[in-house]
Symmetry: C2
Subunit: 275 residues, 2 copies
């Protein structure tokens, strides 16, 4: 039954690629940015929130639900190139920080057919987007993330609509550390994208303290107060000023420019110190 080959070339010429059942693959991109929520008080600085880009589906399956931007990967396209192509189509930006989050491949995750999807996380400063969004796309602010006894509730809002979903973090047997996320409440988000959102937010929270990824979400010039707010919104907790400044001291360079106009002492602008 098994044929003998004498070289790799000979084998490949004879290879029948149809012998295994095939499937489709997509990429989904969790695009994260930070928003400024304007405050009424002229003295107060703007409140920052995490922002997530969602797209309203206008066709089945999950018609009228929100999902992450994504798309099928081309048969001649490298997997890691696909998310950039999709983002270019969706937001018209290039050269974005992207990292692979996880590949989701449950058999029933898509009602149409077997589709495996690699989720990626993109970090951008949404103020750098020069063009306006696609009409079905919208930025949702993360209004709250609350966790108690392994139940995480996340509330999103885009100004018009509020989305709430809940995920249970289950400790896998024999694992000692990694959680499995199970959706327990969700009626507005398509596919398994709630899981992707939580995975990404947690990944970012874990990485922010030992990497420089935050700077992908910052403008070229920023105040340390703004940078601290971004850390705080990612970590979902307040930080102490002196400790924060000690930690980021060697990651930023002070410029001689000032940010004024805030009803209080002006702040020096800093930039990221590339290594």
């Amino acid at each position: 039954m098994e044929k003998e080959y004498n070289s790799e070339e000979e084998f490949l010429n004879d290879y029948d690629s149809s012998q295994f059942e095939k499937l489709s693959m997509t990429v989904d991109i969790l695009v994260l940015s930070v928003s400024n929520e304007e405050t009424s008080n002229y003295r107060k600085t703007d409140k920052k929130k995490m922002s997530i880009l969602l797209v309203k589906r206008n066709q089945y399956p999950f018609k009228d639900k929100w999902c992450l931007p994504g798309g099928f990967i081309g048969i001649d396209e490298n997997l890691d190139d696909a998310p950039m192509r999709v983002l270019k189509r969706e937001t018209n930006v290039d050269n974005i920080y992207l990292e692979q989050l996880y590949t989701f491949g449950d058999t029933k995750r898509d009602p149409r057919m077997r589709i495996v999807s690699s989720a990626y996380m993109a970090l951008i400063d949404k103020n750098k987007l020069d063009t306006s969004l696609n009409t079905n796309a919208s930025w949702f602010d993360v209004v709250s993330i609350e966790e108690k006894n392994n139940l995480v509730n996340i509330i999103l809002n885009n100004g018009k609509e509020t989305i709430s979903f809940t995920i249970r973090k289950e400790l896998k047997e024999k694992t000692t550390d990694r959680y499995k996320f199970v959706e327990v409440e969700n009626d507005k988000i398509a596919f398994d994208h709630t899981i992707v959102i939580l995975s990404g937010l947690e990944r970012l929270r874990n990485k922010v303290e030992y990497t420089d990824v935050v700077f992908n979400m910052m403008p070229d010039l920023f105040t340390l107060g703004e940078l601290q707010q971004v850390y705080e919104v990612i970590l979902n907790k307040k930080l102490l000023d002196p400790a924060f400044r000690r930690i980021i001291a060697d990651k930023v360079v002070k410029t001689n420019k000032l940010k004024t106009g805030g009803g209080h002492r002006p702040s020096y602008l800093f930039e990221y110190k590339h290594k």
Copy 2:
């Protein structure tokens, strides 16, 4: 051209899944364990090394090269279930620590056709394997890992054969932290599996300090000296005894059993403290 549907059900009944080009998917598993290298001196404790399970390919492509255990995923099989099935076939063990590492999807990574592969890492105590290995499978010790100016050289040995390969860690543009691994020297390992090996070793090194994953590689009872050696071999550096014992103090429980027979003071046996 676009047909209108009134319900999800109606849409799905009419769905033609052949409209997108499909591909095949595999899983590859980096099985990591620790070996005991016996020492000649009766007093000295055994030297520990990282061990990697490799399989010799007996067919094209990459005939006669070594690769990670792996296999195609079934069309009706959850992606996360595939590595366990493959491991069961390869080592006849069940209930193993597994985590997804990364999904590799370059168009040319397999010379046969377009195959996307999800790499997983498995951590086991290889002494718990009751049955012997498949004849093509073999444990390779990690003899050395050396890194200088972003070039990593890894040397493996299974007692008969030595494998050496080198990988360059390239800082991706716009990334600020994540490396892209590029193979620069390798003539014995198939596919892109050298990249998977390095990714896994680095992932384990990063996780060992803030998780409890090591205990998946330990027997039920172990001495603190043995545990420390495993940490040291994963981190590839010596640790100081008092510091190490402080750190793991609340992760282990002392038993009243002793390990004797070692030409020196006996050591208490400990077990993992599950939380």
